[in-house]
Amino acid sequence: MSLIDWQSYRCTDFYDELLAAPGRPRPAARELCDILAGFSPQDLAERKAAAEIAIQTMGITFTVYSEGSMIDRAWPFDIVPRIIPADEWRRTEAGLKQRVEALNLFIDDLYHDQRIIKDKVVPAEVLAQSVNFRPQCRGIDPPHHVWAHICGSDLVRDGDGTLYVLEDNLRVPSGVSYMLENRNVTKRVLPEVFATGRILPVDDYCAQLYDMLASLSPRPHDEPQVVVLTPGIYNSAYYEHAYLAQQMGVELVQGSDLVVDDDDIVYMRTIEGLTRVDVIYRRIDDLFLDPEVFNPDSTLGVAGLMRAWRSGKVALANAPGAGVADDKVVYAFVPKIIKYYLDQEPILPNVPSYLCMFDEDRRYVLEHLDELVVKPANESGGYGMLIGPRATPSQRAEFAERIKADPRNYMAQPTLDLSTAPTLCDGGTEARHVDLRPFILSGTDIQVTTGGLTRVALVKDSLVVNSSQGGGSKDTWIVETDGE
């Protein structure tokens, strides 16, 4: 007798990623569902324990702060994968490439002629009030005219099965190491499913990342010196910084390891002496990058780094200022941005958005606060938002005041019926809400990860998938289906 009985799996309230109806797995998930249903309770317990042990021995952690001290927590992981059919994924991939290509053209335009503003496609005030626009970046031509080399876009699926782009993370998106590690864990835990050979592999990412970074080098004829710049062990994503450096075989540096001399060249301090650095994959926010230009108190950055970057002697990925398009108000204009630069219709839809800066939209938002999700323009990690239907009247009233005080900083979207996926819980599987973060690399060409990081809200009915707030993750399978 198995713990997993798909007949009694409750998946009718939302779109479920694996099952079309109770007892009816979607074609791409059929094999997996059969295998899982065949597991005895003991089988299941063993697989779950194997995953926990793998995570522990592989040392997959993320860092949280609690009462002033730093704790490395084991990465919360659910062994039931999330499955996307390959044909759907190819469409999604094309949509992501289109989107990131347009976003890079948009950023490049903003730091040069600002044609899109002059043509009144995006209102000037959006730019004027953007906290992530960096005047210091005007007129700069980064290699390939690409600013956001690494982008992590969050996708969610609504009740009718439509996949929407929820946001684009263009500053320092994280999570890709967990995507890769999730696959390693799943291979250990469910090897029999991989034997079918229909699951597309994900492990090219680090090689692609390295090649992309190397292609930015100002000294293309030499073997480029690429480094990963981390704020240090206290950063919540330090595990990922170390992981990526290790997988690419490059140095993991901190600000204090780098110096910029009067010649505007960046060096790292090594036991061989000062060694020139060509490309920096920086995992530090713009404002901490260079105390000469930005926050003068920053000890995480490197004095003179912007000088070196502006004179083209070092490449920074992502380029400073790329975050201007990583703004939830700019987000609302992305369909227009795609149309403007590429003259194409967006392949992936945006979630309908109301911008509080526009009077009409703001009126609507204030009147419908109990139906909407309101987000500040520039927060990440799910902080500072209002989920209208779940908020108390006093929370809504307080938020209304905030919106009126700073309308440019807020946008609102209808609450989506986020899709679910079966997730192992005590006594079987239950539906839990999921999202998806694919990663897009842009250099001489654009590459998308095969699938991405699926995050899951482990708490029943919760919509919050962030690992810092009780979220977990799943392996994501792109599965060939013989055109079924």
């Binding site: 290790q246 010649d263 002496g273 000062l274």
Partner: protein, 331 residues
């Protein structure tokens, strides 16, 4: 290898060696005092002198009692040289660089630190102290074993070895300095009955008694002990031996000339010293050990400026030289 990483590993090894040597010192002193009559002026006070913590100690404690001294040397968090602080320092240094060493090394340091911290209050009673100190010494030795058994002999290990050997040489001379300051007879008749015992204790602080007996088959006497602990080429805690090992490690590093020269100088001082003369006079020995300490400092400085230098310490010529060659290949 990044300078910061090399520096962290070097200090980690120094801290571990310091913790171990301090534990040896406290352990042997405990045993020694049990054999001496109560009125002997020696006691726990000299241990404070050895570790150079006089001022700090006197600020925090009113008496140099056994309990206070042991507490200060073993677990006092405000004493940067205490066993607990040393292990905490080692752990902190490794924590930021743990990706470059094997996981077992991190686990060993982490466990050792946590164990010592948890026993800080209860482990020091006279009855439990011996076990506590043994665990520290064994823990540090186990760590050395894990490093030896799991870490490739590349730059990371080289910097660990440099730190360990320099700290060991330094601690050996400190132990000699203060112990012998009390031991060498001003009047040849003074303290006669105990002299033998106390030179034995110097050897035992360094686990050198058995090795000494194997190589020197005479009764334990001052000049012979000094010769053994300073000049012996085989005993792992002898100063000459530590410097020899350190020099050998240095040769695998780039740009090692300055540090190697500093090591050679201080080693020559050790090997050329006249042990008979040093054993005759407290003052002469003390001056000699001061000279060695200066040599160790020079060696340390040479390592720091060559390999760990920050920009402000980097010789200008080097920087500009590199910049010019880079500018050349830009064309």
């Amino acid at each position: 290898m990044l300078s910061r990483v090399a520096e962290n590993l070097y200090w980690m090894a120094r801290y571990i060696e310091r913790a171990e040597d301090t534990a040896r010192l406290v352990s042997v002193n405990s045993h020694l005092l049990l054999d001496l009559p109560h009125q002997t002026a020696l006691g726990w006070s000299t241990l404070i002198d050895i570790t150079g913590g006089d001022e700090l100690f006197d600020k925090r404690y009113d008496r140099r009692s056994e309990k206070n001294v042991v507490h200060f040397l073993c677990v006092e968090p405000d004493n940067p040289g205490s066993i607990l602080s040393s292990l905490a320092g080692a752990r902190e240094n490794l924590r930021t660089t743990r990706d470059v060493v094997s996981r077992e090394i991190w686990e060993q340091i982490n466990e050792l630190y946590l164990e010592v911290r948890d026993q800080a209050e209860n482990g020091l009673t006279p009855r439990r102290r011996d076990g506590f100190l043994k665990r520290v010494i064994r823990g540090c030795q186990a760590l050395t074993g894990v490093i030896e058994g799991t870490l490739s002999h590349l730059s990371a290990k080289t910097f660990i070895e440099l730190g360990r050997h320099l700290e060991r040489a330094d601690m050996t001379t400190r132990i000699l300095d203060v112990r012998s300051g009390n031991l060498l007879p001003k009047d040849p008749e003074e303290l006669r009955p105990f002299e033998h015992l106390q030179w034995m204790s110097v050897l035992k602080s360094l686990t050198g008694y058995q090795m000494y007996r194997q190589q020197v088959r005479l009764r334990v006497r001052g000049p012979d002990v000094l010769r053994f602990l300073l000049q012996n080429q085989h005993f792992p805690r002898a100063v000459a031996r530590s410097l020899e090992a350190l020099s050998w490690e240095l040769q695998s590093l780039p740009r090692h000339d300055r540090a190697l020269a500093a090591a050679a100088l201080v080693r020559a001082d050790v090997l050329e010293a006249d042990m008979q003369a040093l054993a005759r006079s407290t003052d002469e020995l003390h001056a000699f050990i001061d000279q060695l300490q200066i040599g160790f400092n020079n060696l340390h400085d040479a390592i720091v400026t060559t390999y760990f230098a920050r920009l402000e310490d980097t010789p200008r010529g080097l920087l500009q030289g590199e910049a010019i060659s880079e500018a050349d290949d830009e064309d």
